[in-house]
C-alpha cells in the first residue's frame, strides 16, 4: 500500500524548510537525558532525585524536571517518601526486581 503523503511533508516542500539544527540538537540532547533517567530506573529500581543524579551525573534540578514531566505523561510513579522528605520514583508498570 502506498504511503500516504503527510501534510507535514507538503508544508516542508512548500515552504522549503527544515527544522533548525539547534532545535534538533536540543531534542537529541533532551532524549539522551531522559533515557539516562529511564535506564537508571529500569529493572524495578526505586530511586530519589539525588540517587539518580549521582548515578547519571546529571544535575538534581534537571533530573527532577524530567521526572515531573514523565510523571505527567504517566511514565513514572512515586514510591515511598524517605524520612528526610525525598520521594523515590519508579517506572510505571515495573516491579522491584
Amino acid at each position: 500500500m502506498p504511503r500516504r503523503e503527510l501534510t507535514m511533508d507538503r508544508l516542508k516542500r512548500e515552504l522549503g524548510v527544515q527544522p533548525p539544527k539547534e532545535l534538533t540538537d536540543y531534542v537529541k540532547e533532551l532524549t539522551a537525558v531522559r533515557n539516562k533517567v529511564i535506564n537508571c530506573l529500569r529493572g524495578g529500581g526505586e530511586l530519589t532525585v539525588k540517587e539518580i543524579s549521582v548515578k547519571t551525573g546529571l544535575p538534581e534540578s534537571v533530573v527532577f524536571w524530567h521526572l515531573m514531566t514523565m510523571f505527567k505523561y504517566g511514565l513514572i510513579e512515586a514510591a515511598e517518601k524517605t524520612d528526610d522528605g525525598y520521594y523515590r520514583y519508579r517506572l510505571r508498570g515495573e516491579t522491584h526486581g
Binding site: L6, T7, M8, D9, R10, L11, K12, L15, V17, Q18, P19, P20, E22, L23, T24, Y26, V27, L30, T31, R34, T48, V49, K50, S53, E60, S61, F64, W65, H66, L67, M68, T69, F71, K72, Y73, A78, K81, D84, G85, Y86, Y87
Partner: protein, 459 residues
C-alpha cells in the same frame, strides 16, 4: 532555539471575504471576559469572544483556591468555560488576535482578527492526547510556569476549552509522528492563518494582567537560585491540576520544611517603576500559607511583609486565622536572597520591630509578585481615537461611570483597569456587560440598529 516558522506562516495569512456582524466583541477570555460574554449573551446579544491563547480560562483557571473562602478556583471557572463554549449567543475564537480596531462612527467598530492555525482540525480532534504522547519535543510548560515540560504537540490542559490539540510550530521538528499517530486524522500542517473582518457595535476589553517578571529584582535571585519561585508557581504546586501530588522544591524534589514568602516583589516599588499596590499579593500569600500548612502540616511558613493589606470582606479574619494556624509574620523588607550549597535559601532582611538586620534560612522561598497591565497590544490596534490609560498603563475608566472608557462604545473590566481580586473582577465584568447592554439598546433606539443582527459565521 525556536524557529521562526510561525512568522513565515503568518506572512501567508489569507483574508476571508465578507464582514461578520456581532453586537459586541469581548477581548480576553479570562474570568472577566467570560462573565461579560455570558451576561450579554443571556440578555440576547450576539457576542464574539476573542482569546489569544489556545484555551479560555485566563489565570484564575490556574489557581488552587480563592481567598478568603478557599473555594476551589477551577470549580468556579470551569463551568463558566463550558457555558461560554456552549452558549448559542456566543461565538468563541481562541488562538486569535485582534490586529486592528477602526472606529468608523458611533457604535460602529470594524475589527480585524487574525485566527492562528493550530495545525489541528478542530472539528476532527477529539482531545485524546495521542499526538502529545508521541511527540518527541519537550519544552517548559507555560501553564505550569516551567515547573515541568509539555510537548510541541499539546493540549493546554485536561480541562481546556476547547479541548483541542495545538502544535507549537516554532518548536516542531517535523518528524510527522503526531500526524501518523492521530487516530482521527486531525493533524493538518496545511492550515493557514486567516484574517477576518468583524463589525461590532460595542467592545469590552478584559485583557487582564501580567505578572511582574521576578528576575527584574536581581537581588532576589529568581531564575538563578533554583529554590526561589514565584507565588504563581506555588499556586501550580498547590492546585488540583498540579505537577505532582505534593509541594516539592525544584532543585532536588525535597518536600520543604521551611518556606519563606517575600511580599511586594515588583509592587509598591518605585525602583522598578511600579509604585502601586497590587491588591491581591498579601491575601494570596496568606491563602497559600494556609494551604501549605494543610499539605505539609509540619512545615514552617514565614511571611516577610511591609504591611498587611487585608481590606476586603472577611480578609482580616482570614489573616488572623493564618496567624492562629502558626504562620509567622515578620515585618521587614527583604534586602537580598542567597542560594546555599545544600539548596537552601538565605534571606537578609530588616526586622522593623526589632530595628536590626537579620538573616533567615528556608528550604524554599516564594516571591509574591505584583500585577502589571497587559493592554499594550490592544491599545496600539485602536485607530480613530486614543484609548486613555493611567500612568502605569491600566485602562482609565471614569469613577462615576465605572467600566466606561474615554471612547464611547468601548468598555473595560477586570484587571485591564487596575489590579483587583476575583470577586471585584467578576462584579466589574457584570457591570461592563450591563453598561454595554444599555448602550446597545440606546443605539437601537437612536439609529434603529438591529441588535439581533445575526452573526453570519463562526457557528
Amino acid at each position: 532555539m525556536r524557529s521562526n516558522m510561525s512568522r513565515r506562516i503568518l506572512e501567508k495569512a489569507e483574508p476571508t471575504p465578507g464582514l461578520l456582524n456581532y453586537d459586541a466583541v469581548v477581548i480576553g477570555g479570562g474570568i472577566a471576559g467570560m462573565e461579560a460574554s455570558l451576561d450579554l449573551a443571556e440578555m440576547g446579544f450576539k457576542v464574539l469572544l476573542v482569546e489569544r491563547e489556545p484555551t479560555i480560562g485566563g489565570k484564575m483557571f490556574l489557581l488552587s483556591k480563592v481567598f478568603p473562602t478557599l473555594d476551589c478556583a477551577s470549580c468556579i471557572s470551569t463551568p463558566k468555560m463550558a457555558a461560554v463554549a456552549h452558549h448559542p449567543n456566543i461565538v468563541l475564537w481562541t488562538y486569535s488576535e485582534i490586529t486592528r480596531i477602526d472606529i468608523k462612527g458611533k457604535g460602529d467598530f470594524e475589527i480585524t482578527i487574525l485566527r492562528k492555525p493550530r495545525f489541528v482540525n478542530e472539528e476532527l480532534c477529539t482531545g485524546c492526547s495521542t499526538c502529545e504522547e508521541v511527540c518527541p519535543v519537550v519544552l517548559p510548560k507555560e501553564y505550569d510556569y516551567g515547573l515541568r515540560g509539555r510537548k510541541a504537540a499539546y493540549i493546554p490542559f485536561d480541562t481546556a476549552v476547547p479541548k483541542k490539540a495545538v502544535i507549537d510550530i516554532d518548536n516542531c521538528i517535523f518528524c510527522g509522528q503526531c500526524e501518523r499517530a492521530c487516530p482521527a486524522g486531525a493533524i493538518d500542517f496545511m492550515q493557514r492563518p486567516r484574517i477576518y473582518r468583524v463589525k461590532a457595535h460595542a467592545i469590552i476589553i478584559t485583557t487582564g494582567y501580567r505578572l511582574f517578571p521576578a528576575e527584574r529584582k536581581e537581588q532576589y535571585g529568581y531564575g538563578k537560585i533554583p529554590n526561589v519561585i514565584t507565588a504563581m508557581q506555588m499556586e501550580r504546586l498547590l492546585s488540583p491540576t498540579r505537577p505532582f501530588n505534593s509541594v516539592l522544591r525544584p532543585s532536588d524534589g525535597k518536600e520543604p520544611n521551611s518556606i519563606g514568602y517575600v511580599l511586594c516583589v515588583g509592587s509598591r516599588d518605585r525602583t522598578v517603576g511600579n509604585p502601586r499596590c497590587s491588591q491581591v499579593c498579601c491575601m494570596y500569600s496568606i491563602k497559600q500559607a494556609q494551604l501549605i500548612l494543610g499539605a505539609l502540616p509540619l512545615a514552617d511558613v514565614t511571611i516577610y511583609y511591609m504591611d498587611i493589606r487585608a481590606y476586603g470582606k472577611g480578609f482580616e479574619e482570614f489573616y488572623q486565622k493564618a496567624k492562629a494556624m502558626g504562620v509567622k509574620f515578620v515585618r521587614g523588607r527583604v534586602a537580598k536572597i542567597e542560594g546555599l550549597p545544600n539548596g537552601n535559601v538565605r534571606l537578609i532582611y530588616e526586622d522593623i520591630d526589632e530595628g536590626r538586620v537579620k538573616s533567615a534560612e528556608h528550604d524554599l522561598v516564594v516571591l509574591s509578585v505584583g500585577l502589571l497591565p497587559s493592554n499594550d497590544d490592544i491599545i496600539s490596534t485602536i485607530h480613530g481615537e486614543k484609548l486613555a490609560v493611567d500612568e502605569l498603563g491600566f485602562i482609565r475608566v471614569d469613577p462615576s461611570t465605572p467600566t466606561q472608557t474615554n471612547i464611547e462604545g468601548i468598555f473595560a473590566a477586570g484587571c485591564a483597569t487596575g489590579p483587583k481580586d476575583i470577586p471585584d473582577t467578576i462584579l466589574e465584568a457584570a457591570s461592563a456587560a450591563a453598561r454595554c447592554a444599555a448602550y446597545l439598546k440606546s443605539l437601537r433606539q437612536e439609529k434603529a440598529v438591529p441588535v439581533e443582527a445575526v452573526a453570519n459565521g463562526g457557528r
